[in-house]
């Protein structure tokens, strides 16, 4: 165990010393990785914020529940109770056919129509605001309420929201595609860097093998190097991202203020940042593993 720790500590030390000696190259490498990681991250932040914006839209979608004309009072009560107890419903509002009729008559343009009607054609209605405003949830709720006895028609008014969510979905797919492409690029960049390092240390590797170094011993410092490049790249990316977002924010808040909103671009939370850094580290490790594996099999 102690020996194992020793060997790791020693490998890490070798790598850190090497990196210190080539400070500029190492920092440049961090920056290359940082910029590469930054691109999907910025897109992520934008989509994430749009998501948030969509989440606190004041104009909340409603489901209109028109009841049957000849509905009995106890069925209305039933519906009322179901609405009150339903976990997916945030608020609801009852509009009786009488008050709707009065509204219609009070409205000057609609009064003309009202006068031509002999009796009140309007049904009792509930206007329901769901808790979850995602199109899927709204649709599910609407379909559920459509089945309730006494409900003539349940109408969801969420087309525009559906469109917004489709756009956000597209954004998420774009991020995924970008992440895969750039992840591949990172593995290639790090793999190539490590390959060059192996070339410069060829002699050392050969001698080490001749005097009894295992492949694992030879591989270890390079794996650490790859992981450190990834880690450095991840940290630089976080830094870049924070700077870019705060740069954007000065304009975004200004635009939002002119619309009377307090919207601003939020930075990714700690978990997301950590995940970005950890995945960068893993990509570095993988790239380096591939490069060393190839080099070792060539030496055999």
């Amino acid at each position: 165990m102690k020996q194992w720790l020793n060997q790791h500590q020693q490998a890490l030390q070798i790598v850190l010393t090497r990196m210190r000696h080539h400070m500029l190259a190492t920092l440049l490498m961090f920056c290359v990785m940082g910029v590469t990681l930054c691109l999907p991250s910025i897109l992520y932040v934008i989509v994430d914020n749009l998501n948030r914006l969509a989440g606190d839209i004041k104009d909340e979608p409603q489901i209109s529940l028109f009841l049957k004309q000849d509905i009995k009072a106890d069925i209305t009560n039933d519906i009322e109770q179901k609405l009150r107890a339903h976990p997916a419903i945030k608020t609801y509002r009852f509009v009786s056919k009488e008050s709707a009729w009065q509204d219609l008559q009070a409205n000057s343009t609609d009064a003309e129509i009202a006068r031509n009607l002999e009796k009140n054609p309007l049904p009792d209605a509930y206007f329901v605001t769901p808790k979850n405003i995602e199109p899927m949830a709204i649709e599910a709720l609407q379909q559920e309420m459509q089945q309730w006895p006494g409900v003539e028609i349940a109408q969801a008014d969420a087309n525009w929201l559906k469109r917004l969510y489709s756009v956000l979905e597209l954004g998420k797919k774009a991020i995924l595609a970008l992440v895969i492409l750039l992840g591949f690029a990172l593995v290639a960049i790090i793999g190539n860097t490590i390959r060059l390092q192996i070339l410069t240390q060829r002699e050392e590797i050969e001698v080490s093998r001749l005097i009894g170094a295992t492949d694992r011993f030879i591989r270890r410092p390079f794996l650490y190097a790859g992981a450190i490049y990834g880690l450095g790249g991840g940290l630089v990316a976080t830094l870049f991202l924070a700077s870019v977002i705060s740069l954007f924010n000065s304009s975004v808040t200004e635009i939002a203020a002119s619309y009377g909103s307090h919207f601003y671009l939020a930075l990714p939370d700690l978990a997301t940042s950590l995940m970005m850094i950890v995945s960068a580290l893993s990509l570095g490790w993988i790239g380096s593993y591939i490069a060393v594996g190839r080099a070792l099999s060539k030496l055999n």
Partner: protein, 224 residues
């Protein structure tokens, strides 16, 4: 301890470097492998150290058949040997201390224990004062001694040297041989390949000619 049984080695696209070589070496022996260049001396040493595998025949090291070892086990076999290469194979981008440290690090020995052993090894070859020097600044003889220090630092039971005095003038060569004798005195087997031997003393001699073993006589009997 080391047994060769009808060992042949053919490199791809080349002649047979060794043909049907058989011999046995005991622990603590000093052996000279003699022959012109191209006689198969280096190949013989590489087969002993598990760097090459025989094309046919068996190489037994401590009753282990080298051909049957898994590739992953070979590094551990190699650690039993201290190797001094024909071209030193020193690392010129690090100082003497770090060069000698390499086998210890491979064995997982680090820190003060390693430092103690590195200084002891450098002391044995008379380079204690040069631990911070870069190998390129050393003379040919000093580089050879540094290579020996690296070979012995992990206390191998067998020391193998390929042409250790090849490019050195006589006084250096005698000095190097003296160092090998000192190791032999503490029970280390010493196997030395060379094409010009002045004094083999009481050592055994394996004489190779074009890949064939001519004899394993005592040196004195040959009248050398």
């Amino acid at each position: 301890m080391i047994r060769f049984d009808q060992v042949s080695k053919r490199y791809p696209g080349s002649h047979e470097a060794l043909k049907g070589v058989s011999f046995e070496l005991q622990q603590g022996e000093k052996v000279f492998v003699l022959g012109h260049s191209g006689a198969g001396k280096s190949t013989l040493l590489k087969l002993i150290a598990g760097i090459e595998r025989p094309t046919s025949g068996t190489v037994l090291i401590n009753n282990q058949n080298v051909s049957k070892l898994r590739p992953a086990a070979l590094p551990y076999l190699r650690r039993k040997f201290g190797l001094v290469f024909q071209d030193h194979k020193l690392l010129y981008d690090r100082n003497c201390f770090e060069n000698v440290a390499l086998p210890l690090y491979i064995n997982g020995v680090t820190g003060s224990e390693a430092a103690k052993r590195i200084r002891a090894a450098l002391d044995k070859v008379g380079l204690l004062g040069k631990e911070k020097a870069m190998p390129i600044t050393l003379s040919g003889g000093e580089q050879q001694r540094l290579a020996i220090a690296r070979a012995v630092v992990s206390r191998p039971s067998v020391l193998i040297a390929d042409e250790p005095t090849g490019n050195l003038d006589d006084s250096y060569a005698t000095e190097i041989m003296g160092i090998f004798d000192a190791f032999r005195q503490v029970g280390v087997s010493v196997i030395i390949a060379t094409h010009n031997v002045q004094d083999t003393g009481d050592a055994r001699v394996l004489r190779l000619d074009q890949g064939q073993l001519l004899g394993t006589e005592q040196a004195k009997a040959l009248g050398l």
